[in-house]
Symmetry: C2
Subunit: 107 residues, 2 copies
């Protein structure tokens, strides 16, 4: 079913950021991340994959490499392999998150 109404799939939880899968092939996965204010995806690094974030709703602080920026809807950032990246939500935040290649489909 290759057509998805992303807004219909938003889901938040008080415990932690929610990840909702939208699309997956051998080459990539595409999720939305839904964060309540103050929730985060802690800075981390993928040795063999690129991560790309596109802000759909809300605002947050995004790390890519040694730079941190406040991003709002319509802004994008990414991290090539080996580059630290992370998110901290300022207010309720929805982010399109794409990882390539897909670490769930090695080989």
């Amino acid at each position: 079913m290759p057509f998805v109404d992303v807004a219909a799939l938003h889901r938040f939880a008080p415990e932690k950021m929610q990840k909702i899968g939208l699309a997956e092939t051998d080459d990539l996965f595409c999720d939305i991340y839904c964060l309540e204010p103050g929730q985060e995806q802690k800075p981390h690094t993928h040795d063999d994959a690129t991560k790309l974030y596109y802000v759909l709703e809300g605002t947050g602080s995004f790390l890519s490499g040694d730079e941190k920026r406040d991003l709002s809807p319509g802004s994008l950032t990414w991290a090539p392999p080996g580059v630290p990246h992370g998110i901290r939500a300022t207010d309720r935040l929805v982010v399109l998150a794409i990882m390539s290649p897909n670490p769930n489909r090695k080989g």
Copy 2:
């Protein structure tokens, strides 16, 4: 410069769809496609890559495989390798387009 204000980069032309590069690594590229009403990206297939479209503005008819759907902002579709895909703009349309792996960075 890993932070991009996508809306600032919209660009349309009467001759054909405009492709504007936003992000590129060995693993993927991310563009926006800007289409005037009636402009299209003709149905085509990538043998070795996944294409993903996310609608930012406007509406259009999107093909993926043997299905065609009218999509509006907040909707997403994708085509794994070997699956035909294309776009025809109904009204002024802006689409986030991601291709993985990046065909410009083979090897």
